[in-house]
Amino acid sequence: MPDCKTLLNQIRALDFALLETGLYLNAYPCEEEAIAYFETTRTARDAAVAEYERHYGPLKMASGVHDNKWVWTKGPWPWECEAN
C-alpha cells in the first residue's frame, strides 16, 4: 500500500496521461490506439482514486463523508507545502 504522497503522485501522473490523450483525441477522435490507451489509463486512474479516497481522504466534495463524518474540509489544502 503506497503512502499518501506516492499514491497522489501516481494519480497526478495518470491524470496527466488522460489530459494529454484527451486533448489529442479532441483533434484526432478516430485514433484507435489513443482511445485504447485512454481507456486503460482511465481504469487505472479510477482504481488509484478509489484507494486514495478510502485511506487518505476525499479528492472531491462528493466523497466528503467518511465513517459518517464530514471530512471534506480537513487540511492540508492543495496550495500548502504539506499537501505536496
Binding site: 489530459l19 462528493a62 499537501a83
Partner: protein, 205 residues
Amino acid sequence: MWVYEKKLQYPVKIKNPNPALAKVIISQIGGPHGELGAANRYLQQRYSMPDDRIKGMFTDIGTEELGHIEMVSAIIYQLTRCLSEAEIKRSGFDVYFVDHTTGVYPQAASGTPFSAETFAVTGDVFADINENLAAEQKARLSYDNILRLVDDPDVKDPIRFLREREVVHYQRFGDSLRIAQECFEDKSNFYLYNPAFDRPGNIRH
C-alpha cells in the same frame, strides 16, 4: 459546471520563502500573459466556435488553465510565508505588502492590476484562434524569462512544467485552426466570412 479536485495538477513544495521572486512570478497570474487571462479567454471564446471538436478543445484547455492559476498562486503563497518585516523591506516586497499583505492578488510584476482586456473575445473564429496561438507563445516566453531569474530548484520545477504546457496548448490550438479551416466550403479563402456570425450570402465587402 465545474467540479473541484483537491490536488494541484503538479506538486509545488518550496522550502525557502523568497518574496523578491514572488514579485516577479505573480505576473503569471495577473499579468498580460498570465493564467487568469488565459483560462477566461478560452472559456469565454468557446461560444463562437463552429465545430464540436474546437468547443471541446477550448473547454478542456480553459479548464486546465484554471488549475494553472491555482499552481502559480500556490507558488506565490509558499514564497511569501513566514516573512519578517526586515525581509519584506529588504526584498522590495514592501510595495506589494502595503496593499495586499501576503494575499494573492492578480497583478503584473509591474504592479498593474489584472485587466479583463486579456480576455480578448472578438466573436470571430479566426481572430480568436490566432489570438490563442500567440497567447500560448507569450506565456511560454514569460516562463522562459522567469526561469532566467530563478535559481531555486523547488521553484524551477513547477515553472518548467507550466512552460511545457504552453507548448502543448499551442499545438492543440494549431489543430483547432486546421479544423476551423476544414469547416469552410471554399478552401481558397478561409477568411471570407466569420462562421460565428455571417453566412456566405450576406457578406458586405
